[in-house]
Amino acid sequence: MSVASQTYSTDWSATVVLDTSAAININATKHAATLLGALPFKFLVPDALVIELEEGRRRGRTDLDEIEPLIGTGLIGIATLDDDAAEHFMSLVVGASSDTLDDGEAATLAYAARHGATPVIDERKAKRIAGLRFPNLQLRCTVDLFAHPHVDRILSRDGLADAVFNALQFARMNVPLDRENWVVDLIGVDRASRCASLSRRARTGTQLNRVGDRRFPGAEKKQ
């Protein structure tokens, strides 16, 4: 399977590992507990995420303050690397800059690869490296969580639109190009025009393949 053709599978594992990039997006929705509680997964974050956000707290960021209660109530667990996962981790952090990842990104992929979990990671380089090192690993992005059918049962469409818009505004959430139509349909063209992290096409309302529901075009394709 080539890197370019690695698409997002419709299958989810029972365990989902959130990378820092995803966790920050979810925090920014202001509905983190509701969203995570609605989804039928066991959520984990790598220890490296906590360490990174501790450093952020020293600089005045509040992401750790928002995640800690979720860890405290058991909604999110900590992904600890065993020796096999540690070998994966080391292979992802040692080497040339272009071939390595930050600790949190590496730990997310390492744990997921070792335990058959689904990593949620928005970082493009991480997706490229995962495609090369772990071609069978099923990757997801933050938007995939928002679009999960279970979220429908808990949040109204307007509520979800507000949550996604918050993630775009406050966290500058990255949205893959093949997910942008869904996002723009949800939040509307006017709000989309105010989201700097969306592509110019999405911000100016120029869209291809308009869809009426939450299924992504090509979501059934798996190679």
Binding site: T20, A86, S97, D102, K125, A171, R172
Partner: protein, 393 residues
């Protein structure tokens, strides 16, 4: 099964030692953190004992870095911080933070430049060790030589930071520091010459600080330097640097010439004259008057007289200069999460998939959202020029 281990083939031990030193952590405390004897930690740092991954992670956390930052190939490992610690009594927290800041900025810049294949041209002036005799005479001579070398003549230097960066290749950073610190200077073979100036100070003071540090680049290049506000000259090196700075910014010939023009036959030096002359040379009013005293163009003690008689105020300067007052763009730029140059390098490294969001956030010491603002937008779409190369070969 034991935690995976790494041998020292990549110089991990030395990198760990540098990181520990940078963080100001004692060997004993690091050893305690990973539950080994101090001698074991020493052996790890000397590359005599393999380090376990679990130990690496714990040490990275203690040193406020990451395993990837410690081990990735292109990372720059330079012990700048400890050098400052050795030049005097134990520095206070503000000084330590300033030193760490300059160290982080320079190392990040060098790593990104290396990754992107950017070659920074340097053209440092010849070193001039301080000889016997009057340091002021030597400093005036060396400053004049610099001006001649750069083709400046006796014209005022309007933008010393750009001059240092473009003509000499010095890395100059302007960031907000504690007000008692004017600036820092250090030289390292891997980083080159680096200066950090205080954005919280007015521009004319920063200019004088930069000129002073330039003096250290010329005379005491390999000794790091911290300049404190209102520091008393305590050594020949400091007297040289101060004299060099004065001579560079207010060369004697130019001052005499301009003084005659501005004073225009008057028998007293007025506040207006001082304001106009200081503005012309880009120095503070005090520096200007003291230079006039030094060149014996006015009576000694004139600045003290002004101070005892109401001073020369910022309001008076605004009245005289009006629209001529120079805006301080560097002060505003210093409030951004990192320097403009670093954000451009980071955006390019991210666009080319050379570094991830996590790696860049850690390298630049910014949070994820700040980093996304830096690297996102136009760059993520291939720019506003359609992504097709428009550069000539």
């Amino acid at each position: 099964m034991t935690s995976p281990e790494l041998d020292d083939s990549r110089g991990i031990g030395e990198r760990l030692r540098i990181a520990r030193d940078d963080a100001g952590i004692k060997q004993a405390d690091a050893a305690t953190a990973i539950e080994v004897a101090r001698t074991t930690l020493l052996a790890i740092e000397k590359g005599q004992r393999r380090v376990r991954m679990s130990e690496l992670q714990e040490l990275a956390r203690l040193y406020r870095t990451t395993v990837n930052a410690l081990l990735r190939q292109e990372a720059v490992h330079v012990d700048l911080t400890p050098r400052f610690r050795r030049i005097g009594e134990t520095p206070d927290k503000a000084t330590t933070l300033a030193v760490q800041l300059m160290s982080e900025l320079a190392k990040a810049e060098v790593e990104l430049e290396n990754l992107l294949g950017v070659k920074r041209a340097t053209n440092y002036p010849p070193e001039r060790k301080i000889a016997r005799g009057d340091v002021r005479v030597q400093a005036e001579h060396d400053a004049l030589e610099i001006r001649q070398r750069l083709g400046l003549g006796i014209s005022p230097i309007k933008d010393i930071v750009t001059l240092l960066e473009m003509e000499l290749g010095v890395r100059v950073y302007i960031r907000r520091l504690d007000s008692k610190i004017s600036g820092l200077f250090a030289y390292d073979d891997a980083l080159g010459a680096c200066m950090l100036l205080n954005a919280s100070h007015p521009k004319d003071r920063r200019t004088q600080t930069a000129a002073h540090e330039w003096g250290h680049l010329v005379s005491t290049r390999r000794e790091p330097e911290i300049l404190h506000f209102n520091e008393v000259e305590s050594s020949r090196e400091e007297r040289y640097a101060n004299a060099f700075g004065r001579a560079l910014l207010t060369p004697a010939g130019a001052v005499r010439q301009k003084f005659q023009e501005v004073v225009a036959g008057s028998e007293v030096l007025s506040r207006r004259h001082v304001i106009v002359l200081a503005h012309y040379f880009g120095v503070s009013r005090e520096a200007l008057v003291r230079r006039l005293e030094e060149l014996q163009l006015v009576k000694k003690g004139l600045w003290d007289w002004f101070q005892d008689n109401g001073g020369i105020t910022d309001e008076q300067e605004r009245q005289i200069l009006g629209d001529l007052a120079v805006p301080d763009a560097d002060k505003a730029a210093a409030d951004r999460p990192t320097t403009l140059r670093l954000s451009l390098l980071a955006a390019e490294a991210h666009r080319r998939d050379l570094m991830s969001e996590g790696q860049l956030a850690q390298l630049l010491k910014v949070d994820r959202v700040e980093l996304r603002a830096m690297v996102g937008g136009l760059e993520s779409e291939g720019g506003d020029v359609g992504g097709i190369s428009n550069l000539l070969d």
